[in-house]
Amino acid sequence: MGRIVLEKVTKKFGEVEVIPPLDLTIEDGEFAVFVGPSGCGKSTLLRLIAGLEEVTSGEVKIDDATVTEVPPSKRGLAMVFQSYALYPHMTVRKNIAFPLRMEKMPQSEIDAKVDMAAKSLNLTDYLDRKPGQLSGGQRQRVAIGRAIVRQPEAFLFDEPLSNLDAALRVGMRLEISELHQRLETTMIYVTHDQVEAMTMADKIVVLQAGVIEQVGSPLELYERPQNRFVAGFIGSPKMNLIEGEAAKKRGAQTMGMRPEHIAVSTEAGEFKGTVGVAEHLGSDTFLHVHIDGIEEHVTVRQRGNVNFKYGDTVYLTPEEANVHKFGADGLRID
């Protein structure tokens, strides 16, 4: 079991309020991802749940038990850090065994559990090495191994993959997702990587300056962003947000169009513009179109390879059903 509830949690560092009152529920077995710009308080929130920081006010509950005053070691949570935080003087085996050793578990039981964890993470051949003799991906796996042997109520990950190269990141992403399927344990995962958030999450929590902007499944957030911030933050490439005449016509302060929801024509359309850069990815082509009177370029996604090049004149028309409208307060208008 691992249902985590935050009730009116706040956090101040000195005079600075990093987390204003915040409520959040993460269901048992859920994979929750915290995303948001740098410095918005993702790590702080995670550390509040772990107990590494004390809440200034409010309550943290795990399985309906209030743990606000409970020390981190007694909360039954395991955390994987961005820097791995492995114990450099211990072998991989001792690293993974450390939490069990602290529980004073009998040695034979420890060995069995460590061997099992090592096997599931492909670490069997490295058990007698020190962390310094491992690659980044292997270190990350040791850190995960150290977390899973304890069979915690929930796992907390703070940007665990950001120190890895792109290829390894994809591999580890899949491994963590698989781990979640297999263990069915609650996981909270902090990242600023769009793809990680979209592909791994059951539930995404979008934060800005300590405030939750929206909570929902990846598709909900993608298809119905509740405000301008979420609209601009979720999705890659970003949603095109346009203000001015075109938005006013639709009764909104800002209109948003995803790159795949814009039709391109060489003859006629709502916006006239010129092609800046055309990015050919093979499966898709992203056109960056400059439109008079609009400061930022508009990104358009076209399937396959299309023959537009720098300086071509094009006409863009949004698919009306998929236009997002936001009012002056930034909130969604339906």
Binding site: L52, M79, Y87, M90, K94, R146, R150
Partner: protein
């Protein structure tokens, strides 16, 4: 190859100088240790000049080896050095861990902690033996006197008087005596060198990874276990350095021993050599060579021990 010649040429003076610096005294010592060479001998005046004619082979070594006082000096050297190392490392780690956090007055505390290190060894010895350890005039004498007076006063107190009348009168210890002078030396050198250990351990503690400690906290490790399994291994290398440097320095302690007791009873190797040098240069040189060997053994032994116990 040609482009290597110039750098080598430029290095040569330094290398040659260093070689001479070390080789000349060492080979002279070696040479003297194999000949009969005394400063003063009326019956055999030919021994008073260093000459290959007076070759004695291992005679000097044999002579020294068979002296009881030589073995006493070695024992004393080892006792003094290992005690000081043990105490400074333990005190150093304890103090460094204690002050490795922020509290008001931290800067002043740190300066005060380091200051004993700047006192000259001879001054340090004079201060300790006369002002602190002296059985009559030193702090020790005054403190023991004070305690005795308090107890004497309590003897006539109503309830606890009976209990205190069973207590003996305390005697101040004379640290200039044969049996105790080594302890005086250990105390004063420990006081002087603990700051050195603290300084080195403090810098090392500041580079300790805080996230590892947080991870350990979540893994259920309390303060003691964090210290035992993270901090202590992290300090392994600095401890080895402190042990190494201090072993080298303290094997050659001299001033403190001279001032405390003039070598009465607690001669260490350097002091023993110093006494031989008054006349028998050959034997003194042989002892010097023994000292070099001993220093190496001690260093290797200590390093192994520190490495094994801390690095798991």
């Amino acid at each position: 190859m040609a482009n290597r010649t110039i750098p080598r040429l430029l290095q040569t003076p330094a290398v040659v100088l260093l070689l001479f610096w070390m080789l000349v005294p060492l080979s002279m010592t070696l040479f003297f240790s194999f000949i009969r060479y005394v400063l003063n001998n009326l019956r055999r005046p030919e021994w008073t000049s260093p000459s290959i004619e007076n070759w004695r082979g291992f005679g000097n070594y044999q002579y020294v080896w068979n002296q009881d006082s030589f073995w006493l000096a070695i024992q004393n050297s080892i006792l003094i050095v290992t005690s000081i190392l043990f105490l400074t490392v333990i005190l150093g780690v304890a103090i460094a861990v204690l002050i490795n956090r922020s509290f008001p007055g931290l800067g002043i505390v740190r300066v005060l902690l380091i200051s004993p290190f700047f006192v000259m060894p001879a001054v340090n010895a004079v201060l300790w033996i006369n002002m602190i350890l002296d059985p009559v005039l030193g702090l020790q004498g005054i403190a023991v006197n004070g305690i005795n007076e308090i107890i004497a006063g309590l003897r006539s107190a109503p309830v606890v008087g009976g209990f205190f009348s069973l207590w003996p009168e305390f005697e101040p210890i004379s640290f200039r005596a044969t049996q105790t002078s080594a302890y005086a030396v250990i105390m004063m050198v420990t006081w002087q060198w603990t700051p050195f250990a603290v300084l080195i351990f403090m810098t090392s503690l500041q580079s300790e990874d805080q996230q590892q400690k947080e991870a350990a906290t979540l893994d259920g490790a309390g303060r003691w276990n964090q210290f035992r399994f993270l901090t202590l291994p992290h300090l392994g290398r600095p401890i080895a350095i402190v042990v190494m440097i201090q072993a080298i320095f303290h094997l050659s302690l001299y001033a403190e021993i001279e001032i405390v007791s003039r070598g009465n009873g607690n001669k260490n190797l350097p002091y023993y050599i110093g006494e031989l040098v008054n006349n028998n240069i050959g034997a003194a040189s042989a002892t010097g060579i023994f000292a070099v060997i001993l220093a190496n053994i001690v260093a290797i032994f200590l390093l192994r021990m520190v490495g094994k116990t801390l690095m798991e």
